[in-house]
């Protein structure tokens, strides 16, 4: 039997059928399901189960839904900021003093050349110490809190609340789910876009996912917000101001998600938003063992391990660059100086751009990398992990202003996806074109926004 004969036979049979035959089948499936279910299910008692509905009326109402969302986001970020600060400093102190011990031990042995000691302890080890102390504590707090909301059943409510906004931009309402997953990891967010049926809306969700900061980038935001923005306020308010700043940055990211979705669906990805049904599942008691496992083992350790894999070679490269002398400076400084004019144009500086280039495979390690370049071969005096120490190094030592900090936060929020996410975009779209577009869009926006803020700040003489 020739396969094509079957196809053409089916075509001709279809033409003879009445047009509604498919609807007939669907209709009879629905009516059978209804009959069977009615026979099998009894509402035994008049026990009311409207507690869920009462909560839903509150968290999905047009008036209280969005504020509750913001409050929850604020609480999670506040918990992360205030918890992470203390722990980060403690871990940093521990790891840096361990590094000193290691360096001293190597030196005391006498036969190890200075460049091996330096490469290992001031290069590779230092980078790892920075990454762990900056990234681990915030992730270990944020991920369990996020997973808790996920297990509880809150995410679909977020989608419900934001649906009308996404619809207005011409995107799919389920994009809020994929956006929420992006807070955990943008690569995971990109994979999650498979829940969106329409290829057009799925592409929009993929291309804009990077505008929400993933967990790898949160620590950067938290550190900068704490050290620079919050330090201008009384100590009692520090954690609230820092959390508020991070929430603000997140909201800017969400705003860019909407703006870019709107632009895309008006230009290259034209079309109307499609309708969909979304179930609001019942609230379920989260399983705490599972939450801890998922958030700490699968998520925190996974992201941290990935960052460490990039941080170790990045640390090595920086150390080498910093120890190749050029005149009376070194190669790292020379490159940074060369990049400096462009950096200043964006309200950043040459060192930040150099760190950014070295950290391209996992650009969440930009801050640790940058700190290493600033520190050069020396060590920090004022307690390396403390806010005061970082503030001293950056402001007094390297001429940072509030503009530098804010623009670095904006840059970290908007810049291109990490290598893993770019690869994931390629795999999901099967097209280098879209993977490239995702980089061009984000990088373009990052450059444009930081350039504008820097220009405006200078125009008004704020810095």
């Amino acid at each position: 039997m020739n396969p094509n004969e079957i196809i053409s036979k089916a075509e001709s049979l279809r033409n003879n059928l009445s047009t509604g035959f498919r609807d007939e089948i669907v209709k009879s499936i629905y009516s059978e399901a209804e009959k069977v279910a009615q026979r099998a299910v009894k509402t035994a008692s008049d026990k009311k189960y409207d507690f869920d509905q009462k909560i839903d009326r509150l968290v999905t109402s047009p008036w209280t839904g969005l504020p509750i969302m913001l409050i929850l986001l604020g609480i999670i970020i506040w918990l992360t900021v205030s918890g992470a600060n203390v722990v980060s400093a403690a871990i940093a102190n521990l790891l840096f003093s361990l590094g000193d011990l290691g360096r001293n031990f190597f030196n005391s042995l006498g036969f190890i050349p200075w460049w091996i000691t330096g490469f290992i302890w001031d290069g590779v080890y230092l980078a790892l110490a920075w990454v762990i102390s900056v990234m681990l504590p915030p992730m270990a707090i944020f991920f369990p809190a996020f997973t808790f909301l996920e297990d509880l059943g809150y995410l679909p409510r977020v989608a419900f609340n934001l649906d009308w906004l996404f619809k207005k931009t011409g995107a799919h309402g389920k994009q809020s789910l994929t956006m929420a997953m992006g807070f955990g990891c943008n690569a995971a967010g990109v994979v999650a876009t498979r829940v969106i049926d329409s290829p057009r809306e799925r592409l929009i969700a993929i291309l804009t996912n990077n505008f929400v900061p993933c967990n790898g980038r949160f620590p950067t935001l938290i550190m900068l917000a704490t050290v620079f923005v919050a330090s201008a306020f009384p100590a009692a308010l520090t954690s609230f101001i820092a959390a508020g700043t991070v929430v603000g940055v997140v909201l800017i990211g969400v705003a860019f998600t909407f703006l870019m979705s709107w632009l895309l669906s008006r230009t290259v990805l034209k079309g109307e938003a499609s309708a969909f049904t979304l179930e609001l599942p019942p609230y379920r008691k989260p399983n705490f063992g599972r939450i801890l496992y998922t958030s700490l083992i699968d998520r925190t350790i996974f992201v941290l391990w990935r960052a460490m894999q990039t941080a170790a070679p990045a640390g090595a490269i920086i150390w080498i660059l910093a120890n190749i002398p050029i005149g009376d400076a070194n190669l790292a400084r020379a490159i940074a100086d060369w990049l400096n004019p462009f950096g200043l144009l964006l309200g950043l500086d040459g060192v930040i751009l150099l760190a950014y280039i070295i950290a391209i495979p996992a650009n969440e390690i930009v801050v640790p990398t940058m700190m290493m370049v600033y520190m050069g071969a020396g060590t920090m005096v004022n307690g390396p992990g403390t806010s005061a120490g970082i503030y001293d190094l950056l402001v007094h030592g390297n001429g940072w202003t509030l503009l530098t900090a804010i623009n670095l936060m904006l840059f970290a929020l908007l810049h291109n996806p990490c290598a893993t996410t770019i690869m994931t975009i390629y795999k999901e779209t099967k097209s280098w074109k879209w993977a490239t577009v995702s980089v061009v869009i984000t990088l373009g926006v990052a450059f444009l926004v930081t350039f504008l803020t820097a220009s405006i700040a200078r125009l008004f003489g704020w810095v």
Binding site: I7, S18, F21, R22, T43, K174, A192, D197, R284
Partner: protein, 277 residues
């Protein structure tokens, strides 16, 4: 990952079956049978998957959590099963990518048995998918999950009535606590071995439609002798389903049947390697 033997729980102290569940994690190298987990989104497929395999597949309380297939293994009464967790889907007719993963596996992956996990608190909507899966394959077991939630809502689900109407076994379970899981496993074994005869309820359609289907079925069967779901393929062809058309013209269909005798179900591996995901 080491094999773990689950100790009998308090629900099931004297139940020999449950003691014989051995979670095999991802060690699914050689398995005797393939079981697929289908169902509407957010009905607890991944939770059941974790309970059976001992794996820690992400679960989350939102529809759309699983977008790819996850595979794991368990051993029950000395027989090794490969369990395939499919993305949740409301129907088998739609074209979004996660739903296609589910449909392709049930259709072309040739599982020995398909568990359709349903939400006891929303049975009517869930049964739509059960009916559609039963169009494709006879070997179906319905797991009525979330029985604890149903009880809290004051719902009583009559599993016997459901089994009788559907023509396939329906087992009430609570995947989170393990309630009913032992019965589910022994039922799956019995269905595969033919100890339980299944006679799935089929939606007939109009007479002219039936006639058209009956004309196509022999043609498909002559192309791929022994194909188990010719009827469903015929229906999909009448509907102009591009994926099924492709399977027929590319010779993919003949390939399935040729390998059908082999125990390890090459085709399911092929799909999993190519990753139609």
């Amino acid at each position: 990952m080491t094999n773990k033997t689950i100790l009998p729980t308090e629900h099931c102290e004297t139940c020999p079956a449950f003691a014989q569940l051995e979670q095999m994690g991802i060690k699914v190298g050689d398995f005797d049978r393939v079981v697929a987990l289908a169902g509407n989104p957010n009905t607890g497929k991944s939770t059941l998957f974790n309970t059976l395999t001992g794996l820690k597949q992400h679960t989350g309380n939102w529809p759309g959590k699983t977008v790819t297939r996850a595979e794991g293994g368990y051993q029950f009464n000395g027989v090794k099963y490969k369990l395939v967790d499919l993305p949740g889907t409301y129907s088998l007719l739609s074209a979004s990518q996660d739903e296609e993963v589910a449909r392709d596996f049930i259709l072309f992956g040739q599982p020995n048995c398909t568990i359709v996990v349903t939400d006891a608190t929303a049975l009517e909507r869930n049964l739509n998918l059960v009916l559609q899966v039963m169009e494709i394959t006879d070997k179906v077991v319905v797991a009525i999950n979330l029985m604890d939630e149903a009880r809290r809502k004051g719902l009583e689900v009559d599993a016997r009535s459901l089994s009788r109407d559907l023509g396939v076994p329906a087992i009430p379970i609570t995947a989170r606590s393990g309630e009913g899981v032992a019965t589910l496993l022994s039922t799956i074994a019995d269905v595969i071995e033919g100890k339980i005869t299944v006679k799935p309820m089929r939606v007939e359609g109009t007479p002219e439609f039936q006639k058209a289907v009956n004309e196509l079925v022999p043609m498909i069967e002559s192309l791929a002798p022994g194909i188990p779901n010719a009827r469903w393929l015929a229906i999909r062809l009448l509907d102009g389903d591009a994926r099924v058309q492709k399977a027929i013209t590319s010779g993919e269909l003949g390939g399935i049947v040729a390998r059908q005798g082999q125990a390890d179900v090459q085709f399911s591996k092929k799909i999993s390697v190519e990753g139609r995901q």
